[in-house]
């Protein structure tokens, strides 16, 4: 399946992917308005250390630990291979957050205290917002075979 991959060589650590992610999942049409109404945390994070930086999001593992660990069965794999959280079922126990080896599941804020993770922007049907908005093509959305 197609996934988001980071090209570390070209990541500028500009963090725009995080903002594009948060905006895209806000369901709002204007970024400024979305920001003002309180962004949820981005489901992609730029990791920085010295000269090395890259953006990381859910790997949609073939054997996802988060799914196994979920106490309410709210994490599942769709037919398209995408691992999603059913926020109606999620109780915010954060077991998934603790078990994910990549730290790719984040905690929702405010009145939505549920686990949030990358869904490859499948709801919008577009290229994932992080990839679309990357100014240096340091994120790509492509098929690379099974990991």
């Amino acid at each position: 399946m197609k996934k988001v991959f980071a090209i570390e060589e070209f990541c500028l650590a500009c963090h725009l992917c995080e903002y594009n992610c948060a905006f895209s999942h806000s369901g709002m049409k204007d970024m400024v308005k979305a920001y003002k109404s309180g962004f949820q945390p981005a489901r992609i994070q730029v990791e920085e250390s010295g000269e090395i930086n890259f953006a990381l999001n859910c790997r949609h593992c073939s054997d996802p630990v988060c799914m196994k660990a979920c106490i309410t069965g709210s994490i599942s794999r769709g037919e398209d291979g995408v691992i999603r959280v059913d926020t109606n079922k999620c109780v915010g126990c954060w077991t998934c957050v603790m078990t994910c080896p990549y730290g790719a599941v984040v905690r929702g804020r405010g009145d939505r205290k549920v686990a949030l993770k990358c869904d490859l922007c499948t709801e919008s049907g577009n290229t994932p917002a992080c990839v679309e908005g990357c100014p240096n093509r340091a994120l790509v959305f492509e098929e690379r075979g099974d990991d």
Binding site: C14, H15, V32, E51
Partner: protein
């Protein structure tokens, strides 16, 4: 620190209503203009480092930014511009020469903008490049006086020529003055376009030898990075005698840019200043040039055409004639508006002549001497668009070099701060965190797009003139008319005034 004589040239206008504190401006500014204030959750700016490179503006996701001229003005004075006054302040402070980058920004006449092209009406048809063949291929190099054909078979052995699919090449910009990623973009674009890029005087990075069949290697006064493998690696060799942005001046790559890779490629110690002397110290006269031309030809077994590049100076026509007789295959003339990574400001802004006049004079001189067909003529020094290229070819050039236009495709915003080494666009810098901002995968495609777009436009203009091969455009000055220029200028350009 005493009195603040020098005020920032620009100010940052930030729409706080739009700002989402994503801090991309802060992260992207190598001049440290933007800063986040945690106490007030607000972005602030200190414009003293701002060069108006527009990086922050271009990356701001909510279009909350604009950079504008500082409205603060010294008292108006038609003789003493603000710029001049500040320059004097700066020199009073530093005691040094002023440095600038990119081409001459002063309002000298741009003759391209005073020349108009012809088109067919009624008496002959214009040609539609979408329906009919339209050829922009050019071969560069010396030509024999005549061809001998025996029973339909060519007997004459021709000197090696370069074939260009488009009459546009990328001019010399050294690895050092620009980044490795910029070089890679140029090399890959030249390869895809079927044209050439020029290494400049900085050697050829070992990763780029594979693009040799689309590379022109340069030999300049510092001889940086020159060895037999280098000479053989390219398709042609260019001897750089001068540069339009700084005629009569050498080059200086500051030690800060001589990092490990640059040092290895240039064959000089890391962290040393790379200084190219003003003249070649083995060329004090035209006969010395001839020796270098032939040394290079001998060294490469006569398999590479030799270009000689000169700055357009007052007696350029006579110099070009001398070069044409020195064994050179291609003469490159670089006009006074050509770009540079760094030049003394007074030199850049006051030395040399416009490329249009230089080209017209050189082409006519070589024709008057009957030797125009012995060599090719390439022009550089601010060819800004396809119509400039068409006009240059109609005035007599075989092809054009573009430098600044190519950098624009790579993201350059002409802030003219290359000499600082802090290019926010990853072009004129060697700092790894900045270099990586230019992704060659994106860069080369933008270059290919730019030149392909120009090629389409060139073809469209040629078609309008009823010409289907660029061969028939070269030197075809009847296709040009001047507007608003005087008799003398028309005479030098060898064109008529509009209406004639």
């Amino acid at each position: 620190m005493g009195i603040n004589y020098i005020q920032p040239g620009f100010i940052v206008l930030r729409d706080q209503n739009r700002c989402i504190r994503c801090r991309v401006c802060e992260r992207q500014c190598s001049n440290e203009v933007h800063r986040y204030d945690e106490d007030d959750n607000i972005m602030l700016a200190d414009e003293s480092g701002c060069v108006d490179c527009q990086r922050c503006v271009s990356l701001c996701p909510t279009h909350a930014l604009a950079i504008t001229e500082n409205p603060n003005h010294l008292r108006q004075n038609a003789n003493w511009s603000n710029q001049l006054i500040y320059e004097n302040y700066r020199q009073a402070e530093s005691g040094g020469m002023l440095l600038s980058a990119m081409g001459n920004p002063l309002p000298f006449p741009v003759y391209w903008d005073k020349i108009l092209l012809n088109a067919s009406q009624v008496t002959n048809p214009s040609i539609d490049p979408l329906r009919e063949p339209m050829e922009t291929r050019v071969s560069l190099g010396s030509k024999p006086k005549r061809l001998e054909i025996e029973n339909g078979i060519l007997k004459t052995k021709l000197p090696v020529n370069l074939q260009l699919n488009v009459p546009i090449m990328f001019s010399a910009m050294s690895y050092g003055s620009i980044s490795k990623n910029a070089h890679e973009s140029l090399a890959r674009a030249a390869t895809e376009l079927g044209t050439y890029y020029n290494t400049g005087e900085g050697g050829l990075h070992e990763d780029f030898y594979k693009y040799g069949s689309n590379t022109i290697v340069q030999v300049a006064s510092g001889r940086f990075g020159v060895h037999s493998g280098y000479l053989m690696a390219g398709s042609a060799i260019e001897i750089k005698m001068g540069q339009g942005a700084k005629p009569g001046i050498g080059g200086h790559l500051p030690s800060g840019k001589v990092k490990e890779d640059v040092s290895r490629t240039r064959m000089i110690p890391m962290g040393s200043d790379a200084i190219s002397p003003a003249p070649h110290h083995d060329i004090y006269s035209i006969e010395d040039l001839r020796q270098l031309v032939y040394s290079l030809k001998e060294a490469t077994r006569y398999t590479k055409p030799v270009f000689v590049k000169i700055a357009a100076v007052h007696n350029v026509a006579a110099i070009a004639s001398g070069i044409a007789r020195s064994g050179a295959d291609v003469i490159v003339i670089d006009g006074f508006r050509g770009g540079t990574g760094a030049a003394p400001t007074r030199i850049r802004d006051n030395v040399g002549i416009p490329i249009e006049l230089a080209l017209a004079a050189v082409d006519q001189r070589l024709r008057d001497e009957g030797i125009r067909n012995d060599v090719s003529v390439v022009v550089a020094g601010s060819i800004r668009c396809a119509s400039d290229a068409v006009k240059a070819i109609a005035l007599g050039a075989d092809a054009c070099y573009i430098g600044t236009a190519a950098l624009l495709a790579l993201g350059c915003h002409l802030c003219r701060d290359c000499h600082s080494g802090k290019c926010n666009w990853g072009i004129a810098t060697q700092r790894p965190e900045l270099v990586k901002r230019l992704n060659p995968e994106i860069g080369y495609k933008r270059l290919v797009n730019l030149v392909s777009a120009w090629d389409h436009e060139i073809k469209e203009m040629m078609g309008g003139m009823g010409i289907n091969a660029i061969d028939s455009l070269r030197g075809n000055r009847l296709m040009l008319r001047g507007v608003g220029i005087n008799e003398k200028e028309l005479q030098i350009l060898g064109i008529k005034h509009a209406g004639e």
